[in-house]
């Protein structure tokens, strides 16, 4: 019997890898989400935008999904995903359509013009349960964070406050030798929210260096390795707090504590690959 946890999961784009990991891990731990909102991105591509204006919005959203899934479903990236997938206990479908409705009690699909579409506030405001699990990247607009009675849970790939900002997975491996993650309620700062839990996790033995090109390892790690770490933390948080997820006693961060990191240069990523995945 699956237990329904009081979470409204925001999934931006059907192909979102992180959301798939979260939902699969939760399900295997015996949980489903109260609700999943799937936001299909029907924003017109920037090139030839005049031509795209003739296409129905749903077609644009489906084309985007098809393109992104196809890139993962073939070639070296697919081999990488399959190889890494074998090394973890929980198997996640990253290459085909995902049955989101099987992972929640209630399922809603909406079409938006990018994540910063004004419509987003309306969609989220109308939700009965406003404890949201944010599964996307980037910043959440203040207009969303200020929705009355709302809270946004986020799992950041890195232990805050030491590793805030971009490429947390890579920086954690470079600086600490092991990946970690942090779960917090989001605020308007970058990874400065009140902390619910932080944890480091050991990776299985991955002999990637001689099997795959560096480009594929760099790309694939964020698709097929990093989300495992974040999903493991989510499950640990859910197991600990279950129905009290919205009122956890948190640890506040001070803004000047720890360090921010920017996108990691490919040469440093290669150094991480050599050190960890030979």
């Amino acid at each position: 019997m699956l237990r329904v946890i009081p979470l409204t999961v925001i999934v931006y784009c059907e192909e979102c890898t992180v959301a798939r990991f979260y939902l699969q891990y939760l399900r295997e731990a015996g949980y489903i989400a109260e609700k999943v909102i799937l936001l299909l991105n029907s924003e017109k591509p920037r090139h030839l935008s005049w031509a795209w204006s003739l296409a129905p919005r749903l077609v644009i959203a489906q084309l985007r999904r098809f393109t992104n899934l196809t890139a993962r479903a073939h070639g070296e990236l697919r081999e990488f995903i399959d190889y890494v997938g074998q090394k973890f206990e929980v198997k996640v479908n990253l290459t085909k359509k995902f049955a989101y409705a099987d992972y929640c009690n209630d399922f809603q699909i909406e079409m938006v013009d990018g994540f910063y579409d004004e419509k987003m506030r309306l969609i989220l405001e109308r939700q009965e349960n406003k404890l949201f699990l944010y599964t996307c990247g980037g910043l959440v607009k203040k207009s969303l964070l200020s929705i009355p009675d709302s809270k946004f849970l986020h799992i950041h790939p890195g232990v805050v406050p030491d590793v805030k900002g971009s490429d947390g997975f890579w920086w954690s491996l470079l600086l600490k030798g092991t990946p970690g993650a942090s779960c917090f309620y989001m605020n308007s700062g970058i990874d400065t929210g009140d902390i619910i839990m932080t944890r480091e996790y050991a990776l299985p033995n991955l002999a990637l260096k001689n099997r795959f090109s560096r480009e594929v390892i760099q790309r694939g790690a964020l698709v097929a390795i990093d989300p495992h770490i974040r999903a493991m933390l989510l499950v640990d948080v859910v197991k600990k707090y279950e129905y009290n997820l919205g009122k956890v006693r948190t640890l506040a961060q001070s803004a000047d504590e720890g360090d921010y990191y920017f996108h990691m240069h490919a040469s440093l990523k290669n150094r991480v690959i050599d050190a960890n995945w030979a």
């Binding site: 600086l175 360090d259 990191y261 920017f262 040469s267 440093l268 290669n270 150094r271």
Partner: protein, 91 residues
């Protein structure tokens, strides 16, 4: 100070000749000369060698790749690029 300059490189992708005292905003539209870019990269490398500051090494690598001002060519970076490669491998 160095981290604030690194942030200018990573976020703004440009370094101006003059900033306010806390470096929060630029007070000039002129970009710094190639010579100063090279000096800054040298300082970043020194900081990495001395303090193992990977963040500054990361920014130095990006400068050598042409992150500044839409990839404007910067004279004098070739020598630094070689020592950067060695540093990354041996880091």
């Amino acid at each position: 100070m160095l981290h604030r300059l690194a942030k200018k490189v990573d976020v703004v992708k440009s370094l101006k000749t003059h900033y306010s005292s806390d470096l929060s905003r630029s007070v000039s539209h002129d970009v710094i000369s190639d010579q100063y870019v090279c000096v800054l990269v040298d300082i970043f490398l020194y900081s990495f060698k001395t303090f193992r500051d990977f963040k500054l090494l990361n920014t130095a690598l990006k400068i050598c790749d042409g992150i500044l001002d839409d990839g404007r060519p910067i004279k004098g970076l070739d020598d630094v690029r070689n020592s950067l490669d060695l540093l990354v491998k041996g880091a």
